[in-house]
Amino acid sequence: MTMRAADVYGRRARWLTLAPPFLFLAALFLAPFAMIVRISLSHSVRAQPPYAPAYAPGSGWEGVWRVVEGLDLQNYATIVSDDLYVAAFLTSLRIAATSTLLLVLVGYPIAYAMARAQPKLQPVLVALMMVPFWTSFLIRIYAWIGILKPEGLLNQALIGAGVISEPLEILNTEGAIFIGVVYAYLPFMVLPIYAVLVAQDESLLEAAADLGSPPWKSFWLVTIPLSAPGVAAGCLLCFIPIVGEFIIPDMLGGSDTLMIGRQLWSEFFSNRDWPSASAIAVLMVVILLIPFFVLRRLESRGEEALL
């Protein structure tokens, strides 16, 4: 009897603890996403709201049915068959993949140095990593224009040092996007890698040395494989938002860089084509779920192997 009472109590307690996050997700993620999906299946019209069919207030279930009848996949067909959108998607994926690779190359040594720093110094280094967040993202990206423009700080410094004679064309190129993205997303790559490295058991490196492995080899055979989960988490945290990035390509990348985030923005705000913009958003979510699940799969396989 007591067992059963504890069981019932346990089940109720579990629901009470699980309900708030479920409700939160349902209200703030699932419901808006359902609305976006519904708009993506509608047609653009010059009206308020700017899509049709719209639900006529007070028309009851019949009204709902009329809306469902009027939905189709026209917008998706348009996007998939339009080279411009396809190119924008591909460019976004390419830029995100390249940036993520650059972020690993830049972020890993930083995370490694942080994890090897004196324990007293480490909280300071982590805080320094977060300091940029105290300034608005927009302002920080805007500041890069001042650095990268032809008569900006970087070109002045390089010309002053005699490295170049003509200012480099950096702003409004893809290079500027990479610089901005690596700068802006660095903490999201460094911190997960740092968290894994700092928790790594130092005696593993001693064991490797004891068994005859020189330090560089131990790094390759022990440190790197064991930090893979941190690298994977960092890649996920960077790659996904970079694909949809709008501000950095818009401010630093110039007008000819086609990224899907900008396409979405212009469909929504310039063309007021909500259904097309929504369809782009839905496609983006679907595309971004692929790397997420691939990584989760790899991770769980890795964990299985580690278990």
């Binding site: 005696s203 004891d210 492995s213 192997a305």
Partner: protein
């Protein structure tokens, strides 16, 4: 055990961490084929000494020799010793086989030889059928054996073991101690084991080096250490002992006696024992104290007291007797036919045989 050159020699090695001297001018020779235990309480410097042999710590002064060669300053990956870590330090991303093969690969051994050696090691450590598992899929005892197999795979002439049994439960620990000892004898290797467990040290070691405060207090066989502890702290740390303070002097018959301060009494000493006349303390092992429920007429060094506690411990019982405000510990066998237990409160007489009194100087 023979050989002119010791396989490992620590020569006046010191190591300081900040203001603390972890190892203080320690000199110790380790013979080939010997099983040596470094025994001491935590913080006595035993692990630092072991790590100096492995190369993880460099001495601030003094030298380390392995096989006659000065290895001071040589990094761990170029030393001919292997270590088994207290935490085992198994590579979590590698299978049991890959863990064992790790050191062999570093030596550039051909793959077929590696496979043969790994399967030898798996058989030796009784890990058959577990070769493909990851460390996390193993029990504590299995992990310990993987760590041992990995450290032995390169056939080091000296194997260093840092608290190898610390993570095992008591039953398994006893079995493993016996196994480790017979393995060492069979392979003819030199084992240097760090432990804080005196029973473990006595079970396994040919020689024990007792350390305290960064120095070696005594080196000797388990029997020497237990029966003839060189210092007060060795007597207290190794085994159980009741210690009396006072002063020794010659008695009228050319023997020796000890004027005990507390309880105030005079004890006859065995004058043949080294240092008997210089003793400032006397130690006696609980199993050497004899307990009588009546005043014995034919026993030396008899004192009267009251039983305060009687603790049943299975194979033996520990009785604590209050003799004039001083607590004396008495161990008695619980073997069938042994004397009846004495209840707390009972008046008893204790006899302290002179040849069981260990003279010590502080």
């Amino acid at each position: 055990m023979a050989g002119d050159v010791p396989i490992a020699r620590i020569d006046a090695a010191s190591r300081r961490f900040g203001g603390v001297t972890a190892v203080d001018a320690v000199t110790l020779d380790i013979c080939e084929g010997e099983f040596l235990c470094l025994l001491g309480p935590s913080g006595c410097g035993k692990t630092t000494l072991l790590r100096m042999l492995a190369g993880f710590e460099q001495p601030d002064s003094g030298r380390i020799y392995l096989d006659g060669e000065d290895v001071t300053g040589i990094p761990p990956h170029r030393r001919p010793v292997n270590m088994m870590f207290q935490s085992y330090a198994l590579f979590p991303h590698m299978s049991v086989e890959k863990n064992i093969a790790f050191g062999l690969k570093q030596d550039g051994m051909p793959a077929s030889d590696i496979a043969a050696r790994v399967s030898d090691m798996i058989a030796l450590a009784r890990l058959e059928g577990l070769g493909a598992r990851r460390p996390r899929q193993l029990s504590g005892g299995q992990r310990q054996r993987v760590a041992l197999a990995r450290a032995l795979a390169k056939r080091p002439r000296v194997l260093l073991l840092d608290e190898p049994m610390a993570a095992l439960d008591r039953k398994l620990r006893e079995e493993t101690q016996i196994e480790l000892k017979s393995l060492q004898a069979r392979l003819g290797l030199t084992f240097i084991v760090v432990t804080h467990d005196q029973v473990e040290a006595m079970t396994m070691a040919d020689r024990i080096a007792v350390m305290e405060n960064g120095r070696i207090a005594q080196v000797g066989s388990p029997r020497e250490i237990y029966e003839r502890p060189a210092t007060l702290s060795v007597a207290r740390f190794v085994g159980d002992a009741t210690v009396f303070a006072g002063a020794a002097q010659s008695d009228a018959n050319g023997g020796a006696e000890f004027l005990c301060e507390h309880p105030a009494m005079t004890l006859a000493l065995d004058v043949a024992r080294a240092g008997a006349l210089q003793a400032t303390h006397l130690a006696i092992r609980p199993e050497n104290v004899r307990l009588f429920p009546w005043r014995p007429s034919d026993q030396p060094n008899v004192i009267q007291g009251q039983v305060t506690e009687s603790l049943y411990r299975g194979d033996q019982r520990l009785t604590i007797v209050d003799a004039g405000g001083f607590r004396v510990r008495v161990a008695q066998s619980n073997a069938t036919g042994a004397d009846a237990e004495t209840a707390p409160g009972a008046t008893v007489w204790l006899s302290l045989p002179p040849d069981a009194l260990i003279p010590l100087t502080s």
